[in-house]
Every structure is written in C-alpha cells, then in structure tokens.
Amino acid sequence: MTDLRAGSRVKVLAGLVAIMFAALTTRLWFLQVLAAEEYQREAVNNAVRLVDVPARRGRILDTHGNVLVDSRASLVITMNREEAGDHKEEILFRLSQLLDVPAAELGARLDDTRYYAFSAIPIAIDVPRPVVLYMKEHAREFPGVDVVELPVRTYPEHLLAAHVLGYLGQISKAKLQDPAFAAYEPGDEVGVSGIEAVDESELVGTDGVIKYRVNSAGRNLGEIGQLDPVPGEDVELTLDLRIQRLAEDSLENGMLAARSVFDSYTGSNLRANAGAVVVIDPETGAIEAMASSPTFQPGLFTRPMSNHEYDRRFNTANTGYPLINRTIQSQYAPGSTYKPFIALSALSRRPEDGAPNQTIVSTSRYYGCPPSWTVPFNEDDPEAIQYVFDNWTTANLGFMNLARALSQSCDTIFYPMGYEYWRLYYPPPSLDGIEGNDDEAPKEPLQKDLRAIGFGEVTNVDLPFEKGGRVPDAVWKAGIHEEFPKLFPEGRWVPGDFVLMTIGQGDTLVTPLQLAAAYAALENDGHACVPHLLDRVLEPDGTVVRSTKPSCRHRWPFSQQSIRYVREALVDTVRTGTASGAFAGFPFGRVWVAGKTGTAQVDNRQDNSWFAAMTEANGERHVVVVLVEQGGHGSTTAAPIARNIIEGIYGLQQTQAVGAEATD
C-alpha cells in the first residue's frame, strides 16, 4: 500500500459496488418474495397448453334403432391461407403431388368463401397414413398446413333419407353472432340442414380438453390432466328404414316408368323430373317416410368441395336442384286432391238466405256432371264475361251425389260451389266498407276453413326451411298485384278465383307434407297432428332422455258426419273412381284404402301428378301422399307409386308401377 489516498478511492469504488448489490437484492426481494405468487401462476400458465378433444357427434337412428348417420375419425389436411402466405402456390403443388389431386382443385377448395381467411380450411380428408408421416417429417415445406384427426359423418344407408338427415357445414358468420351458438368458434362444424340442423343441440356433444405440459418450443412433454368430452345424444327418428327405402324406390321406379308415357299435350314423353313422397301415421303425425327426388349423397359434404363443384352438383338447372326437400320446400297446386277439403267446407257452411239446414252442398242431393260449366249471369254486373270452365273429361257423366263427385273427381260439380262462396259471402265485410258487421258473417269462410285444415301455413314439422303454401284471398291478391303488376295483372277478387280454388288450381299452393297432414287428419276424424320426425333422444348407452309426445290438439271445425262422409266417399276412388285402374286387383278385403287423385296444371309445363291415400289394416294406419312433377295424370303416375308403397307397407305382393288409365 503505497498511497493512502488510493485506499480511500478503492473504498469509493467498493461503496459503489455495494450500492449495486443492494439494488439487485432489493429487486430480488420484490420478485421472489412480494410478487412470487403472481409469477408462480404465470409459470404454470406458461407450461400448460390446452388441446380440444372433439366430442363424438350423436348418431341418427330410424324408429327401430337402425343407424342412418354415424361418425368416424378421419385424418384431415387443413391449410391456413394466411400462414401459407406467398408460398401458397408451391405448397399446393407439393400437396397435389402427394395427394394425387390437381393443384387447381386444391386451390379452389382453399378459396371457399364459407371460411374465414384466418381459419384452417380442410382441403383433403381420409388422408393415408404414409402421406401424413411424410408431411410431419417435412413440416418445413408445408407452412400453414396441418394434419388433424377430425370426426367425419358416415352414412351406412348411403343416399337414404338424405333430405331428412341433412348435412354439416362450417358455422356461418350470422350464426356465430347468435347467442344460441355462443359455445361455437369460427371453423366449427354445425348442422346446416335437415335433422342435423334441427337437432343440433342434442347431437352436438361437449368438447373435452387435454392439458399438456409443453416446453417453449411447444413440444408435448406429457399429459397432466384432462376433461373428457361428453358425446352428443343419439336422435331416434320416426322414420322407418323399410318404409323410407320403399318410398324412395317406388318413387324412382314410378318416375322412370312415367318417362316412357307419351303426353299428348306436349307431344313428348312425360318428363317426371322430380317427385316427393310422404308417409305419415295419422294418429300421431309421425313421419314414417319422406322422400324427395332428385336426391343427393350427404357423404359429399364430409369432404372439401370447391364452389365450382358445389354449383356443378347442386346449383345448376340440369342438376334438378337435388338439395331441395320437395316435401316441404316446394309448393304446388294441389289439383283435385284439394276437393275433399272444399267439400268439407261446403258441407258445413250455411247460406244466410237459405233454409235452416241448407248448406252450400248437400249429401242428399244429386248434381249434374256436364262437360263444362258457365258462370251464371250476374244482375249486379251485367257486363261481366260469363267464363266457361271445363271438366277433366268431355263426357257427360250424368247425375251423381257428392260422394261420387269426389270419387269421379267431377270438376263441374265443384265449380258452382266456388261460385256460391262468391255469391253468398262476397264482398267480405272487411272489404265492403260497412262497419260493425264483421261478426255477422264469417270473413271469406272457404279460406277460413282451408286454413283451419292446415293449408296456407307451415305444419311446424321439425325440419328447417319449411314453406307454408298459399290460401289466396282478396287482400293477398290486391297486394301481390300491387307488388308484381306484370305477373299478376288482375288485382280484384273475381268469381273465377273461387271457382278455380275448388279444384285446387288458380293461386292455391300446398306442400306435399301439408297435403299429407290434411289427409292424416281426415283419416283421424278431424284430429290434426303436427307432423314430426323426432321420436326419441337417447343417451349413447341407450337411456331415453326424452320422447316426443304427439301434438294432436287441433280439431277441425267440421261435423264428424261430414268428415266420415267425405272419407268414405274416397274409398270409391280406388274401387270404382279415378284410381280404380291403378288399383285394379288390389286386395281391398285385406287393406282398407281410400284416396284421391290430382292432376294439377302448371303454365308451360306438363301436369303435376298427385295421389293421396289413407290406409288401414290390422290396427295400423298410414297416409301416403305422392307427387311427381310433370308426371301427367294423378291416376297415371302418382297412384301406381302410392299403390306400390301401400303394398310394401302391408306386406302385400307388389305390382309393378305401370301407367294406368288417364283419369283425373
């Protein structure tokens, strides 16, 4: 030590160092003693990753427990547009070589507008394991590409009941906003049509979570806990696999047969391009079969599809729009199948100026059935044109009662009924400007009765996108004329509107399901049941969660006598009436059948063919409604299909659907 002053300077330096150490210790005290808990929590979060375990989606079963829709695991390649970034083209090229799919096709799948830009878009499913291994090993060459194991729907019965079952798709932006879908995330699959959509909340399970310990590179270091997924509930439908198959096969065969039938009006064979069948249990409203043709393969929706392919398969005119469920989404003029309901109304409505027991039509009177009927001269409106309305046949069928008018489908007996509604109730009080007389007479009583039967509004079947048909009235007509003056040049309600309504033409529209529900109520003594498909909801182990109680509270406002009269009248349709040809040789002693044909005219197209049947045997009752678009006469195409189905249901020997005599 040579310099005393140097000693003090060393102490200055040492003091500085002491301050540094004090600073370090203070900070350590803060971190490790005061704030330790917070950091410990962060440390735990740091090291844990949560991985969703998708829950198994519930199965869809038929009423006997046959599996219609199931799920299986599939290796799916997903790609994230944003992560792939500029390398999209190269990646798609490499993938196309691996998967043996054209790169352009993969690219089109990637451009699917249903997905968000930031979400992983499935571009290939059921990828073979070797391809997956290769991709894992060469992960660097595939940025933004991932392989995940996802549950995928399977359809053991292939195309069967495709429209009823529906399919899954990526959840839409609109649904994500919906509080009912709060648990869903972008990219989740959700039922978008059919039972998959309606019973989504039952079918979807609750995803589980696996907690992994991971390092900073995300490497899995083992599981540290898990929350098991809760599988979705199984949905058991009222559909009967056997009847459904029967309905679909009969419809296809019948349509095929119709295409070889010559149609003299158009000078070409019947096109029979589409059709629908509904089989329903009238006592409960349980739908036993629901077929719509053309149909589609629901399995197609389990794999990625480009917009182009979607349009090519489902969305151009020559595909026949197979995704449409024609039983509930297409509306048709019912033609003569409407007549029994006109009769029911006419049997219950009493004109004010008539005798106390006189109704618009009577079961005790006989009416002439000439080849045509002319609108009577109206003293109040002498200028009015006296239109002439033809029967379906040019023959004069002579005098007959109402029952025979139904079984022979005599239009010229129904036309005057329509005119009577005009003469007696028109203009309705709400339109004549006189106040205070609203209660004196029913407003448009025919429409009121038809709505009471169930027409003009949805049946509330448990399927989405159902249409309600149309019961036209004066207000509707004025409104639609104002809205579309070119399509609907006449805005006034005229006698012809009622006249055409009596034979199910004009502006009247129904869906096949509406008609089936109406015939079901007719067979069920006027007790109208809400048609339904969901029978029971089951736990995966088979425990019943709940079962549907038939809803048949609605009662028709008609007397039991009238209902029975009309129902019994229809028995003759298949024995001696318009469908007697189609039902020739049918063992009526074994199965009771009553029905009604319908031939509905459509502008610029061939006639739509209808048949509605009520059946009963051995305490079993079924209502069958068949529609074939451009199928010609009801007796020619629809009635034989219905017969075929009925024979199948009751185990009778099935006759081939052959074109029967062309009656109404």
Binding site: D3, A14, L31, Q32, A47, R213, N215
Partner: protein
C-alpha cells in the same frame, strides 16, 4: 524494485503461504454451483434431442479444471513482470480483435465474435478485458511515479487506450463487452486518482460520442431495440421483452426457497432463452429461490471484497490498479447480468463470472483471479 526470478524468500515470506483462501473458496464455490446450474439448464433440452444430458456439464467441468490450473499458473510468477509485457499483451489483443473480423473468425447471429479452434470457441474480447486491465494499470502506475495528480490529458490518454478495443468490440457487435471495458477504465481511473471533474468531462464526451454514433447509424438496430425494449416494454419489436419476461417469470416463480434442484418448470421446459449462458442466474432464482439467489450474490460479494482488499493491500500502484480493474470487471458483469434477468438492466450479452457456461469466459475470469492471488501472495515482497 528488483524483479529477479528465483529470488530466495525467507520461509514466512514465501508467496505460496500468503494465498488468499477466502478468494479461492469463493471462486471454487461459484464454479461448482455453476456446474450444477449448467446441468440443470441443459439436461432436458439435450435429452429431448437424444443427446447425453451431461454434454455441457462435462465440457464446463473440463474448463473448470483448466481454470484452476490457470489460477495457479497466473499466481506462479511475479505479477510485476507483466508491466514489461503490457504493451505486447495489449497489442496482441488488439490484433486478435482485428483478426476475428476477417474470415478467420466465425459469425453467428450476425456478429463476428470468436475463432473456432479445435472445436472450441475462442472469444478474443474476453482476453481483451485482461489485456486492458494490465495496460491501463501499467500506464497509470508509470504516471504515478512522475506526477502526484492525474491531469485531464492523462485521463484522455487512458481513455484512448480503452477506447480502441472498446470500439472494436462494439463493432463486432458486442455491446456487453464494451460496457465491461468502459467499466474497467472507470474503475481504474477512480482508484488512480482521476478527479471527479475529469471523470465528469469524460462522461460528457462519452455521451456526445454515443449520440454521434446513434446519429451516424453505427449502432445496430437490435442494440437500440434492446434498450428501447427495456425502457418501453410496450414497444418491443424484437421481442427482447419476451426474454426478459420469461427470465422474470422463472426467477419470480422461485419464491423464497425455490422449486428445488432440477424441479424448475421454466428451466426444464426451456422457456428462458440462452439459459446456460447469459441467463444462468434464472436457474438459481427458480430452483433455489430468494435464498439461493442471495447466497450466490454473497459469494460474489466475498469475491469482490477480497479484490478490493487486495487493491488496498498491494505493495505497489500497479497491483492496486490491476486489482481495482479486476474488481470493476467482475462488479459490472455481475450487476448487468443479474440485473438483466430481473428486469433492471437492458439485455446485453454479458456472462455471469464462473457460473455461465463458456470456456473463454471461465478462463478469463480464472486469469483475473490468478492475478488477484498473485498480488495477494506478493504483498510483502
């Protein structure tokens, strides 16, 4: 002063009898705990890639053994010889710093810092620290002979000596080591009697130069980002804040007594980057808690206390200045390194003496301790 080798000492004055055991023990304690920490920080990630989990431990242990030999070697001759070779040593270190920038050096992560020799990385900037200490001590000790007071000119001259290697290191770029070099300069100048006023002028000049460097774009973007990221964690484009945050979580989660050796989740799971080198202190903090961290700081305090004591005991100014330089070197490294793991200093590539994994650093620190022992042993001769 006669510097004759082979001088015969009376038995009680033989240097070997005056070795500083506290300094030796503190160093050994730090080296041994360092070996444990290196193993803890690396065994998981090594076994994850199917390598021997003890790979780093074994390499570090080899260097530790070499370090002990070096301490003995550096204590074996009279340190005053170094004054003769000071210029040469300094020149050689400058040469190495220049060579490392040629293709002979290896570039990693955008900076040219070391030579690859027999599979080992030789970092010349580590040795530069020792060279600078010896050079400055020699220069200032020479001055002390002629003048009692250091003039501003002398201060500038000393600064120039430090500035050359500091600039070269800074351009590698290695901000951490240049900070250490500046700290060595300041430490030696303070002890050598530079006036506070002069040091103030020096600090002012440095500020101007730093500002100028920023303006001229001599400072790399990532260096600025580290500092801005430290000052303003919200605005942190380089994610340097992430490193610091992970380090803080690791240390904070250790709590009072730690998670236990090899039990630290953040350490095992590799959340802290460069954990076996720059961020080794996070292992201590997580696995041994506040108690362990303060324990390690105590070992460093003993080391520094002995260094300062040796500066006081030294028979000659050269020894005092060398000891002060070594103390300043250790002190700044400890402060900046530990400070950056607990969020009070910006992140710079400074290792924790004796604890961090790394041969060059360990050997340099061993040389420094050897010098201290040398001065201590010869305080009577």
């Amino acid at each position: 002063m006669d510097l004759v080798a082979g001088k015969v000492f009376p038995a009680e004055r033989r240097p070997i009898r005056h070795i500083d055991p506290a300094l030796l023990l503190a160093m050994l304690a730090l080296i041994v705990s360092g070996l444990f920490m290196v193993y803890s920080a690396t065994h998981q990630s090594l076994s994850a890639v199917a390598l021997d989990p003890g790979t780093y431990l074994k390499r570090q242990a080899t260097f530790a053994a070499l370090g002990v030999v070096i301490v003995m070697l550096m204590a074996s001759f009279d340190y005053r010889f170094l004054r003769i070779y000071a210029g040469m040593i300094y020149g050689a270190s400058i040469l190495l710093l220049l060579l490392v920038r040629t293709p002979l050096g290896t570039a990693v992560k955008g900076s040219q810092r070391w030579f690859e020799v027999f599979g080992f990385q030789l970092t010349p900037s580590e040795l530069t620290k020792i060279a600078l200490i010896i050079m400055l001590a020699t220069y200032l000790a020479e001055l002390r002979r002629s003048t009692a007071e250091l003039s501003l000119q002398h201060v500038y001259a000393a600064t120039a000596i430090a500035a050359l290697p500091a600039l070269l290191v800074f351009l590698q770029p290695d901000l951490g080591t240049s900070i250490v070099l500046v700290a060595i300069l300041v430490g030696i100048l303070v002890v050598a009697g530079a006036r506070g006023r002069h040091l103030g002028i020096l600090a002012l000049t440095a500020l101007v130069l730093i500002f100028g460097a920023l303006q001229l774009g001599l400072v790399r973007e990532y260096q600025i980002a580290r500092i801005t990221g430290f000052l303003d964690p919200q605005n942190d484009p380089q994610r340097t804040g992430w490193n610091r945050q992970q380090a803080e979580i690791a240390i904070g989660s250790g709590g009072l007594t730690g998670t236990g050796y090899l039990e630290g989740s953040q350490t095992n799971l590799d959340f802290v980057p460069e954990q076996h080198t720059d961020f080794i202190f996070t292992v201590v903090g997580e696995e041994f808690g506040f108690v362990g961290a303060v324990g390690m700081l105590l070992a460093f305090a003993v080391l520094l206390w002995r260094a300062f004591r040796i500066a006081l005991l030294s028979k000659d100014p050269f020894g005092t200045y060398v000891a002060a330089g070594v103390a300043a070197m250790f002190a700044i490294q400890i402060f900046v390194n530990v400070g950056m793991t607990i969020g009070i200093m910006p992140i710079t590539g400074i290792t924790l003496p004796f604890v961090s994994y790394g041969g060059s650093s360990l050997l340099t620190n061993a040389i420094a301790v050897g010098l201290l022992q040398n001065i201590h042993m010869r305080r009577f001769t």
